[in-house]
Symmetry: C2
Subunit: 402 residues, 2 copies
Amino acid sequence: MQLLTNISTLYTCKDEGSQGDLHPIENAAIAWQDGVIQWVGPESGLPGEFAGTEVFNAGGRMVVPGLVDCHTHLAFGGWRPDEFEMRVQGRSYLDIAKSGGGILSTVKATRQASENELYKKASDLLDKITGSGTTTIECKSGYGLSLKDEIKTLRVYRRLADAKPVNVVSTFLGAHTIPPEFKSKREEYIHLIMDDMIPRVGEEKLAAFCDIFVEESAFTADEARRILERGKQYGLRPKIHADQLTSCGGAELAAEVGAISADHLERISDEGIRAMAEAGVIGVTLPLASLYTQEPFLDCRKLVDAGVGVAVATDFNPGSAPSYDLTLAMMLACNLGRLTPAQALKGATLYGAKAIGLDDRAGSIEPGKSADFLVVDAPSINFWMYHYVPDREIEVFVGGRM
Amino acid sequence: MQLLTNISTLYTCKDEGSQGDLHPIENAAIAWQDGVIQWVGPESGLPGEFAGTEVFNAGGRMVVPGLVDCHTHLAFGGWRPDEFEMRVQGRSYLDIAKSGGGILSTVKATRQASENELYKKASDLLDKITGSGTTTIECKSGYGLSLKDEIKTLRVYRRLADAKPVNVVSTFLGAHTIPPEFKSKREEYIHLIMDDMIPRVGEEKLAAFCDIFVEESAFTADEARRILERGKQYGLRPKIHADQLTSCGGAELAAEVGAISADHLERISDEGIRAMAEAGVIGVTLPLASLYTQEPFLDCRKLVDAGVGVAVATDFNPGSAPSYDLTLAMMLACNLGRLTPAQALKGATLYGAKAIGLDDRAGSIEPGKSADFLVVDAPSINFWMYHYVPDREIEVFVGGRM
């Protein structure tokens, strides 16, 4: 049994009340064994049986759950820093894509990379991401876009899941875009996804979710229905990149197909909000992507007020969101998405875990959950989000280990 | 003589060409003595007389000038994290001020703090700021608003200037707002500034600049003229907080009175841009303030295209810009202010130094300037600004010392 004591305030973030209810415990302690939380409460009420165990001291600082980044594209070849300069100079995403940049340039670099090269790069990034407080992460494929390269990417994630202390969950995103060799054979690529990729991913249990980019420039709602239904047959729960660049009914579709989350949503319709609330679909806001693509920011408060649970994630990828800083994403979700700091934190913990179906083991500090938590050197949640600094001291416990 | 060698690319940022010209040198070296740069050039051309001196190795990384944060309010009492929550919930800055928050709550806390308390807090912050890459900083008073408390704040800055390796330059901002005890005696407060504060600041050489908040809710253009002219009589160069919340001719006034910089400028008029370009006034963009106050962002590119030099700064203060992260400010100036990464970097180095009259010693890597530079672990300027991470490795040399 191991203990963390001398916690000024412990924000449990448990699944009760509204998105802003963090369920704090003053002068708290946590006890865990074999990486699983056994007891949480005021230190004065700590049961006697936990005495004499290994004790960590939080130094009177606050403790929050380990962060959950429920939307990343972690494994990719290359980077695209020069497109960043082009975009701020006014060239559009589409225009850059046409001149050989955009997603397809990452597809090219990802296909060229060996599995080991992809693994090494993603592993180094994941170590830094963990150091910044993220203890559970979702990782998407979608830069392979061939059977071989999609499987290669998902195997990288499986190796990371096995090798790293953090929780890694994978999403199959073969329907990220139409690869160049299928440009004039769209239906053939959809068949490749449905008949070859999904069965293989399902049989090898390489992913938990099937995601699709529903957008004028990517896949239609009808195509999404077919692909996501096929995914379901192989045990993959649907997720949707929805209403990012155009309002195209992605949120409504997410409700219709029983998606666990709909992500982006910058241009969600009021009907889409209602449909998501009714169906219990989590909305995932990705403010770093809005920032880097100079797109409008999602009004997260409107979703929360309508009863939609909102998760906050980074969308980390080499094009539209080249930062893995989930604390910055939370700060932006406050400033530009109108979430309160408490709502943003629950969005990057409990609601993040819900968006990837891991709220049975992550996202809050409760008995039975993984011993993932952060000791944060800030006097309050408001202060942490408000006084954003690049060098905030954070001690990361993942699976009970610091 | 000391040397830094094995630099992949050295971005000198010298004052030639356009704002985006960083004047790089490949495979470079720097030599300095007693904190002053003696030689800069390709390592292969290093003169023989520098052999056998103390050598630092940049490890093949790039080197840029130490950052210049030309607009901060470093010394203050208290913090205002709960106002952050109120603002994202939709309460206006003015509304918060009316209920006892805003600048005046910081004035209250600053008055209550002793000089030593203010010094200790500002000193701790400055150490962190330096660690993040800022080697020259401007610090404003303006939370005292009485003769005693303005002098107290400026003395804190003088002590920091003496004690710290970084360049600290002070600005008198008695005209930040009308303090509560002068609410119905506006003209009396202006006389206090002109007849008591400015002469004292000038005689004790406690500041280099006189700044004023020109805004409907603060001071009029006519009041600014009187105060800034009095400042000039005591050797204080004018600066102006201009056109932040309303377009009120602040930029035009800056040109008229020969201000060294006009800062904020979110609502600058086209006439104001022309006037600043003609008069050579530096425009200081403060994107963190725009972000935290949910105000529109300054279109910096428009200023650059019109021939205005644009500096990038944090506006670090406990209300509207509670972050001292100048790298984040640069990234935001790219994403939301349309500067290229190179323009943003020159904005946070050379143009920052120009905005505080220190371009004779700071802001670029050239012989005769202070040996202030950063070894940055990124393959290019574009990459550094684009792949924003909270844990970028940066080695800071200030006055030639790491």
